[in-house]
């Protein structure tokens, strides 16, 4: 297995490069979800029959950067006119996008439908969906949660990047999500809570997605918004912003030296 820490470092640098060059984007959530994505794509847990949906479409710089590294594609630019790396994943422009996202709550439902489709066809493979914690406030998420456990979709794994923040600040100050674990359990899900920056815990949790169960699985990864760049960590400004040249250089310097 490649060194996941090293890959994550390169992905984070690419995230910042993409957002800086594009002149806009969501660095905070992209950096907090990077390790979860790197674990999923490079940790040896995905099979060819699996599918992935980025329901938290706004953190696509992290996903695009992970794919960039995985597929060795470097010629696409974020948010550039005509680019497959649209500001939020858009199937029309990118064949690797299973479903267009960007409006929160929808990717989870679509993933549930795909998992149900695989069940009907008796096809192997898992549906992986990455969600954010702010996204959990959408009513559609709870509709999908209820339905997924009712249908016993054990081929579905939801990963929540629990960085504790949304656009307007702390999730717990806006519309408290806690106790999130107990809420999912009450809805009939198996819940794993992990440190979303610890690759040992990430890989071990992701592997459990293929275990025999009767219920869908959710992995709540506790993370830090802006992880890896000290001045961005847990700062509201970095939810979505334009990075100045100074911020960009300072951040890249920190990521390269760590």
């Amino acid at each position: 297995m490649e060194n996941l820490e090293e890959i994550a470092k390169k992905v984070r640098q690419n995230v910042l490069k993409m957002i800086y060059r594009a002149g806009s984007g969501h660095p905070g959530g992209s950096l907090s979800s990077t390790d979860l994505l790197v674990g999923l794509y490079f940790g040896g847990v995905m099979s060819e029959k699996d599918k992935f949906i980025l329901s938290a479409g706004h953190v696509c710089p992290a996903w695009y950067s992970t794919l960039n590294y995985k597929l060795q594609i470097t010629n696409y630019k974020l948010r550039e006119f005509g680019s497959p790396f649209q500001g939020h994943p858009y199937k029309k422009f990118a064949s690797f996008v299973e479903t267009s996202t960007g409006s929160l709550g929808q990717g989870i439902s679509v993933g549930v439908g795909m998992a149900l489709g695989k069940k009907i066809k008796r096809e192997p493979g898992l549906i992986w969906v990455l969600s954010s914690d702010g996204e959990q406030e959408e009513g559609q998420v709870w509709e999908a949660m209820m339905f997924a456990s009712h249908q016993k979709l054990n081929n579905f794994c939801l990963i929540i990047d629990r960085n504790g923040m949304q656009i307007g600040g702390d999730t717990e100050k806006i519309a408290a999500l806690e106790p999130l674990k107990e809420k999912y359990q009450a809805f009939g899900w198996k819940v794993l809570e992990i440190d979303g920056h610890n690759f040992g815990q990430i890989i071990s949790a992701l592997r459990k997605a293929r275990e025999n169960r009767d219920e869908p699985l959710v992995i709540i990864g506790k993370t830090i918004r802006g992880k890896g760049v000290s001045f961005m960590e847990n700062q509201e400004r970095y939810h979505a912003c334009t990075l100045t040249e100074e911020e960009y250089r300072k951040a890249m310097k920190e990521l390269r030296s760590n």
Partner: protein, 313 residues
């Protein structure tokens, strides 16, 4: 005679069952409105291809999109006020921005659910669906047309909104003029059909309100077009008829904003300007009544009202 009439939704239920037999990829999903949309026969015949998602229209759409991405052809059926009304953004992003091959069936259009009142009466659903790229909007009238359009809907590779009613409709239209006789097999996306030829006025309409239009237009030299494909519109037929008659009346059981009236006005104002009158539900929500006729009368849409408008044009 009236006793023999079936409701349009009955024809839909029959067509869906036939479709289920013909195409194993067809699934039916509903947000707990199985009996209202006449889905029971499909469920009984194909229990493993029927899903009651619960009272959760947003997840209904998402789940159906996922199923379509796995190769199925899901028919999602609910009341038109909820579907598309309650899940517009899910239809916009998950359905249309994926060009997902799924079908939306909105029941109880316009005033056809008279008793339930404003919250249950869909008067703006066409406006919503017509505004979305990739979406096709179909509104059938008689029983055979309803059944054929269900087939057309399934054959199209992409999203379709099929708007149906709880109202009784004739099983088929008896067209006297030999020249106008058409087989229902010719119905298609982007199509329309002339129900009556005339020279002084073009009337374009769709759905069960055509019943009122046909009664109202007796003794007038008017041309009646059943514009069942609201999007895409049969522009050629409307332009040709407008060129012949020089004025157009649109009658629909929908808001005067955003429906067929708007589609026709957009077309004619840009390509062949002639006077256009839009007779629809004025800018109001509905209300409870013991019957649809009371509401049609109040809002100026029954045969008498239409006759008066025709005679003044």
């Amino acid at each position: 005679m009236k006793d023999n009439l079936k409701q349009q939704r009955d024809y839909f239920g029959e067509a869906l069952l036939e479709l289920g037999r013909a195409n194993p990829q067809v699934l039916t999903l509903t947000a707990d409105l199985e009996s209202s949309l006449k889905l029971t026969a499909f469920r009984e015949k194909f229990p493993n291809r029927f899903f009651n998602i619960g009272v959760a229209e947003q997840n209904l759409i998402g789940t159906a999109v996922g199923l379509s991405l796995e190769g199925f052809i899901p028919f999602c059926a609910s009341f038109a006020v909820f579907l598309p009304g309650r899940c517009f953004d899910q239809i916009r992003v998950s359905v249309c921005q994926n060009k997902a091959n799924l079908k939306l069936v909105g029941g109880h259009l316009g005033f056809s659910n008279s008793g339930d009142g404003a919250s249950a009466q869909a008067v703006e659903d066409i406006a919503l669906m017509r505004s979305l790229p990739e979406m096709v909007v179909l509104c059938p009238y008689d029983g055979e047309e309803t059944k054929e359009l269900v087939k057309v809907t399934a054959e199209h590779n992409g999203p379709v909104y099929l708007r149906i009613s709880k109202s009784e409709v004739p099983p088929e239209i008896k067209i006297k003029n030999e020249k106008l006789k058409m087989t229902y097999k010719k119905l298609k996306i982007g199509g329309a059909r002339v129900l009556k030829e005339g020279g002084e006025l073009t009337i374009a309409s769709h759905g069960p309100i055509l019943e009122e239009v046909l009664v109202a237009s007796q003794n007038f030299d008017v041309e009646i077009i059943d514009a069942y494909s609201i999007k895409p519109l049969n522009k050629e037929m409307i332009l040709k008829s407008a060129a012949k008659t020089g004025k157009v009346l649109v009658v629909e059981e929908h808001s005067i904003y955003g429906g067929l009236g708007s589609a026709v006005a957009e077309l004619l104002s840009q390509e062949y300007p002639v006077p256009v009158k839009i007779l629809g539900i004025p800018d109001v929500f509905g209300e409870s009544a013991r019957g649809r006729q009371q509401l049609l009368e109040k809002y100026g849409l029954n045969a008498n009202n239409i006759r008066e408008v025709i005679s003044n044009l």
